[in-house]
């Protein structure tokens, strides 16, 4: 398998996270459906968007944070690509709203990407190739979701809200340089949502081995093999995190220690942010990473596929990370909701 790497060296020149302020504790969901003596929820709590938030507003804040760190003229951005499974419109781009608001219009591409939880990293791959080809100097890739879980479904405990933006640019300006990437995709229907449906459906345990593990493990193994790396070469590794178990198990099977996972494992605090999950893990790693450290990020999107990225942190990170709010700044900002208020926030109460 040949590693993917553009001829022009590229990397990430700016990054930004966003997590909404509201939280729903797992025990509040289990109280609702299992009573006070319910089983232990899969995660501690998940982030819930405000009444006036959606993927467009959340993407915009993450994009603004990425721009603050990169400190470039936004009119030089040649693509704004937003990956999500919860775009506010079925037809009409989220990306034009973001592009307009940050001042990237009109000389830019803008499109919304859809590939379940891998939509954001798919946009990243494209942005890396786009800048790598020389067609553009800067491209903005986002993964952001306000994921919905059907009430009482297992996914209701984890379907969170949040995500991240990465401004891709030339390697010499980057705070993390791309060493290479891979993608591993098959047609595997482990999770889906049909047009006009409010909630997604899933294939239960089928989403585990044939879905998540098959793709994540393959993408991770192949990128390490292609670049001649071993787990110990990475200071940090980030996996897509639909719950706390899957990424830890993937890490163990590949030979990573829990210390390598910890900086990028946020699911216990904010839930599974779908297209944002692996990417906001990466912003969290960038918040603490040191120059010279290597980082491996592996996403997973149902349907199904994984993108893996091998990144090397540069000296530029030190000056840039303080220019915008950190991932943790958003995570510690929290206002707890009860289930009824959550139901209102997520439009589970029928008003008309």
């Amino acid at each position: 398998m040949k590693i993917m790497k553009p001829q022009r060296d590229v990397g990430i020149v700016g990054y930004g996270a966003y997590v909404p302020r509201y939280r729903l504790r797992g025990t509040e969901i289990s109280r609702m459906w299992e009573g006070e003596q319910g089983s232990t929820p899969p995660i501690k709590e998940k982030a819930v968007p405000g009444l006036d938030e959606d993927v467009a507003t959340m993407s915009l804040e993450a994009a603004r944070n990425a721009l603050k760190r990169a400190a470039i003229d936004p009119s030089r951005i040649r693509a704004v690509w937003v990956g999500s499974e919860s775009h506010p419109y079925a037809v009409k781009p989220t990306s034009t709203i973001v592009a307009e608001a940050i001042g990237a219009v009109p000389h830019t591409l803008a499109a919304d990407w859809q590939f379940a939880c891998k939509a954001g990293t798919e946009a990243m791959q494209a942005a890396l190739g786009f800048v790598g080809s020389g067609m553009a100097d800067y491209a903005l890739a986002l993964g952001m979701d306000t994921a919905q879980g059907r009430p009482r479904d297992a996914l209701e405990y984890t379907a969170g809200a949040g995500g991240a933006a990465f401004l891709v640019g030339p390697a010499e300006e980057s705070l993390a340089v791309l060493e290479g990437s891979t993608s591993y995709v098959t047609d595997t229907a482990d999770f889906w949502r049909r047009q006009h449906e409010h909630y997604p459906a899933h294939a239960g345990r089928f989403t585990g081995e044939p879905g998540y593990f098959r793709h994540v493990l393959a993408a991770a193994s192949e990128i390490m093999a292609a670049l001649g790396r071993k787990p110990a070469d990475y200071a940090h590794v980030i996996f897509h995190q639909p719950n706390t178990k899957f990424p830890r198990k993937a890490g163990r099977e590949l030979g990573f220690s829990s210390e390598q996972l910890v900086a990028g494992l946020l699911v216990d605090d904010i839930g599974n942010t779908y297209a944002g999950a692996a990417m906001i893990g990466l912003t969290s790693v960038f918040d603490v990473a040191q120059p010279g450290e290597r980082v491996l990020m592996v996403s997973f999107g149902s349907g199904a596929g994984s993108d893996a990225f091998d990144l090397r942190v540069t000296d530029a990170i030190t000056a840039r990370r303080g220019r915008a709010l950190s991932t943790r700044d958003y995570i510690v900002r929290r206002h707890e909701l009860d289930y009824a208020t959550y139901a209102r926030h997520r439009e589970k109460i029928r008003m008309e």
């Binding site: 302020r21 405000g50 009444l51 006036d52 938030e53 959606d54 467009a56 507003t57 915009l60 804040e61 506010p88 419109y89 709203i97 307009e100 608001a101 940050i102 001042g103 910890v262 900086a263 969290s284 918040d287 603490v288 990370r321 303080g322 709010l325 950190s326 991932t327 943790r328 700044d329 958003y330 510690v332 900002r333 206002h335 008003m351």
Partner: protein
């Protein structure tokens, strides 16, 4: 639904773009093309920092049509760091004690949502300034 009207206002609403008077230097929001201080033409766009403080505030319990979805919500006059007052909603304030003088920052949020067949209008609101911890320290403490 007034698509064209909201489209015309996008530039002002999405990013708090007003004007600056090249004659006397006053920063103007919303744009009015004529300087309120010296009456000189003022058409140079100026993007405000979005930083400001609460000048006055109220909670709307009885919303006008089109805003029922968000009620109750907090509205305010915000004194922008560059000078002008702006009327806007405060957001992310449930459980917060709001006070005159409280520092706030601009965010772009849904102003109104005209339902499953309509469009969504986005614009500026203000929220309490989020405390920025030194990320490394906070992270280390939590590990």
């Amino acid at each position: 639904m007034e698509i064209a009207r909201h489209w015309r206002l996008q530039r002002h609403r999405y990013a708090l773009v007003g004007e600056v008077c090249n004659h006397c230097g006053v920063k103007i929001f919303p744009a009015r093309d004529v300087c309120p201080e010296c009456n000189a033409p003022a058409k140079t766009p100026y993007t405000f920092s979005g930083k400001g403080e609460v000048y006055s505030y109220s909670t709307v319990h009885h919303p006008p049509e089109g805003f029922e979805h968000f009620a109750p919500y907090v509205v305010a006059l915000v004194r922008l760091a560059e000078g002008p007052l702006v009327a806007a909603q405060l957001t992310d304030v449930e459980g917060e004690k709001i006070e005159i003088g409280m520092p706030v920052e601009m965010v772009t949020r849904k102003l109104r949502d005209d339902g499953s067949r309509g469009t969504i209008v986005y614009g500026y609101k203000f929220r309490p300034v989020i405390a920025s911890g030194t990320s490394a320290d906070v992270k280390d403490a939590s590990v």
